[in-house]
Amino acid sequence: MNDDRTARSLLRAVPSVVHLGLDDVVAGIEAAGVPVVRAAFLPPAGGDPGRVRRLQRLFAPPLGPRIDAANRDALDRILASRPCLVGVAVARDAVPGMEPDLFLHAGPPIGWDRMSGPLRGAVMGGMILEGMAATPDEAARLAAAGRVRFDPCHHHAAVGPMAGLVTPSMPVWVVEDPAAPGRRAFCTLNEGLGKVLRYGACSDEVIARLRWMADDLAPALAAALAVRGPIDLRLLMAQALQMGDEGHNRNRAATSLLFRELAPALVRAVPDAERVARVLDFLRGNDHSFLNLSMPMAKCMLSAADGVAGSSLLTVMARNGTDFGIRVAGLPGRWFTGPAQPVEGLYFPGFGPADANPDIGDSAITETAGIGAFSMAAAPAIVQFVGGSPELALSTTREMARITAGRNTEWAIPALGFAGAPVGIDVRKVEELHLLPTINTGIAHREPGVGQVGAGLTRPPWECFHAALDALAESLVES
């Protein structure tokens, strides 16, 4: 191979050609027996002339190489982080900035007035749980009157599935990178399926379960972890990916592995055999237990890249049921939002698209970190749950590798020749390839209290990426 690719090389030997567009132009080249590589063309940046120009700036020198370097740095930080499960604590004690009247929720900032049904239902349940209201109606009235303040989980190093509600008395998993003391992420404990707060249910049984989790489950788990010591979540995730999980909609393997890790420690730490059995039964009965760990694991990793100047990689994708929001490593503190999208998928018997709430939850943090739909190739069985074919599982991971900056080789996917999970969503690539991230997700009923009605695939709205691209272009200057 000749290292010289300048124009001189065209005069020294038969040119090597990549072609884009109408075929007639290369007919002569091919007639001469010279192979032509054909590339696909789609208008970049949605075809908007101003944005096409901005995108071009963000790829070309001097900005392009600067962003590339920043993205390598951001990716290195993400991949160097080792989130470990270190304990269970109460939100008011552990979550930074938590206040008695502060409720955290999934997605970008939103007020009561614009909240969707499931999020409102969760808020009402949270108020009953916290003793602020006796009934859902009273809670709704008080919430509308401003009795509680709202803030995104992501503003407090936390994440929550679906409604993502975190109230002060709730127990949370504490995830920490031992190599970066203080870099923590928090998430509530998963309630299981059926009528649960995260889908907006706030009936007595929901509140009762939450109280049991706080009073019985959480202390037992905390005691077990104190005996067991930290659990390396990335390692556990790596094993689960080889066992058919993708860490978002399928957590059966990871939950089982967690069970294996915790069981002996629970027995050692908790003298009451019946209580140990209750805790293990709860974990055993809920395949999604690990979701509430894969999420803070992902959050902990991605927060390592937050604030890397000039980086165009995403650190957050999150939805509150009304808006979809993304955050970009190089634009810390900012949200770029658009309307939350419908979820295309399979519905439980008796439910259909008319029942569905738009996309909701912080769980897209898993995709942001390279699991979930991004690692769907590891979890072909999931297509029975979200729809599609096993081939869709493979092609989704391959597609997502096109919009990411690199791979997490520790998260090897057997079906793709042990290629690593694609990680580091680059806003520029999304815009250039006109290819949005895919998200594996559950479908919440649009009314509070009904719960999950299906599961499927969705994508963010273009508005987020357009706005993020514009902001990047504005924030970076050549010089």
Partner: protein, 500 residues
């Protein structure tokens, strides 16, 4: 009545859109069918054409818009059904034959580290972006696309020149690099003459005339038609010249371009003078200035080619082409030139004017119909934007030109038709029979007065169409065939002169 159908996220290239448009127009009762991407320009065009603005405005540049006008609802419904069939009719539907799993440009370049040239034929609005992306990856560009803004061209070429990369274009029709033809190019032997060309058909004609003299081309580096404008300043012409100066296989250099901006020309002359190799220049439209400081400024493409052949040590030759069985007689009347190649039209006009045949270039499109609506001798470039909006170039699709041949030829105010035919890769695969048929129709439609037709054929026998084969078809149809536009124009001028 009108209907606008928007297919979301359905980007397609212009060739495909034209094909769908043609299919829809075939549906009985359909008067107009525009199939376009929903770019701002296209949307305003459709709105201006009277299609419901609300329906049109909803489309984005990623959406395919079919605007259909028909005589009644049944016709529109039929067209709508045809559109659906074209996209959804199973594996055989034309829309299925898409890009498949092709990589995007950046991906393809990452996977092909040896690739040193990117050929680009995408809509002009995106062409600069794509070219920049090729430069990002350190590759030269053959930029066939037109409608690229001049400041974008300036920025691209400045950047490329700094990196030692070529941006051939925008609006670059022709290049031959190390024997490989890009875009519209003739199959000519390799040899000692290197060409830098801002004119695609001009470059093609010089390369073919050299081939007729047995002289080959080392490389032909296209620059795009605006390279010698004041703004662009000849950035790629300079780089092309320096590449040929350093290239061992090049012994003689030829520069073919429209007349440059005066400042650019003045700055370029010393470069040509000091190139270290014999240089022949053909500035189209220029009457020639002979040899200045050793640089030959030729008065025609023919002279440029012959001079280059001579400098390369060969004897200029003209091949014997088939001639019509009967002499080509002029009809009483004016001359109408209908060209496919813009530079060849300019060359012909210069010859005609020099011979005293005053010509007009109409500033609006000629319309096919019963009579020519313009007065006087006319020289028309059917590759002009007038004629090519929503259609392929006349070198590929001759329908418009053939209709005009029928119109002009049938109009007895015209006595002489002057045509060109450009062969080679990229061009129509068998153009002469269509031209011959149009000429025959035109003659049949006249009241018996003779119609003289002269046609230049730019090509070689190695071209897919075959020079001799095409010339034979034309000669059999009673068309005088010449190897260059200037020669055909001289013949036509003599006929007109004789007719006066």
């Amino acid at each position: 009545m009108d209907r606008v159908v928007v297919r979301r996220n359905e980007y397609r290239d212009s060739a495909f859109l034209m094909r769908i448009g043609r299919e829809l127009k075939r549906v009985p009762g359909i008067e107009q069918a525009e199939v376009l991407m929903g770019t701002p320009m296209n949307r305003s065009m459709l709105a201006a054409a009277g299609f419901p603005p609300a329906a049109v405005e909803a489309a984005t540049p990623m959406d395919l818009v079919a605007a259909i006008r028909g005589r009644d609802e049944a016709a529109i419904d039929a067209a709508g059904a045809e559109l659906a069939r074209l996209f959804e009719g199973g594996d055989d539907a034309p829309a299925r034959a898409g890009a498949g799993d092709r990589p995007a440009l950046a991906e393809a370049l990452a996977a092909a580290p040896d690739a040193n040239c990117v050929t680009v034929a995408v809509p002009g609005a995106y062409a600069a972006y794509v070219a920049h992306r090729a430069l990002d990856a350190g590759r030269s560009v053959f930029l066939f696309s037109d409608n690229v803004a001049l400041p974008d061209e300036v920025a691209l070429k400045r950047r490329a020149a700094e990196a030692g990369l070529l941006v051939m274009g925008p609006d670059c029709g022709t290049a031959i690099l190390s024997g490989v033809g890009f875009g519209f190019a003739n199959r000519v032997p390799r040899g000692p003459v290197g060409i830098v060309g801002a004119s695609g058909t001009g470059t093609q004609e010089v390369s073919c005339l050299l081939a007729h003299s047995g002289v080959g081309v080392s490389h032909a580096i296209g620059t795009g038609s605006r390279d010698l404008s004041r703004e662009v300043g000849g950035a790629m012409t300079r780089l092309g010249l320096s590449l040929l100066a350093a290239d061992e296989s090049t012994r003689v250099v030829a520069l073919v371009a429209k007349h440059p901006h005066a400042e650019v020309e003045a700055a370029l002359h010393p470069v040509l003078r000091d190139l270290g190799k014999p240089v022949v220049v053909r500035y189209l439209g220029d009457r020639g200035r002979g040899v200045v400081d050793g640089v030959t400024y030729a008065s025609s493409l023919d002279e440029a080619a012959d001079t280059a052949a001579t400098l390369a040590g060969a004897e200029p030759r003209t091949p014997a082409l088939p001639s019509p069985a009967a002499p080509v007689l002029p009809g009483p009347g004016r001359l109408v030139g209908l060209f496919g190649g813009g530079s060849l039209a300019a060359e012909a006009r210069l010859v005609l004017e020099a011979a005293g045949v005053r010509c007009r270039v109409p500033d609006r499109p000629l319309r096919a119909g019963a009579r020519i609506e313009e007065d006087g001798n006319l020289v028309v470039d059917t590759g002009d934007d007038f004629y090519t909006v929503g259609r392929p170039h006349p070198m590929i699709d001759q329908a418009v030109r053939c209709d005009l041949i029928r119109t002009a030829g049938a109009d007895e105010s015209a006595g002489v038709l002057l045509l060109d035919l450009v062969l080679g890769d990229g061009s129509h695969l068998d153009p002469a029979p269509e031209i011959a048929a149009a000429v025959a129709d035109a003659r049949a439609a006249r009241g018996g007065s003779p119609l003289a037709v002269a046609c230049s054929v730019c090509g070689t026998d190695a071209d897919p169409q075959g020079l001799t084969r095409q010339a034979s078809v034309l000669a059999s149809a009673g068309v005088r065939v010449e190897v260059s536009a200037a020669r055909a124009a001289r013949f036509a001028a003599a006929l007109i002169g004789g007719a006066r």
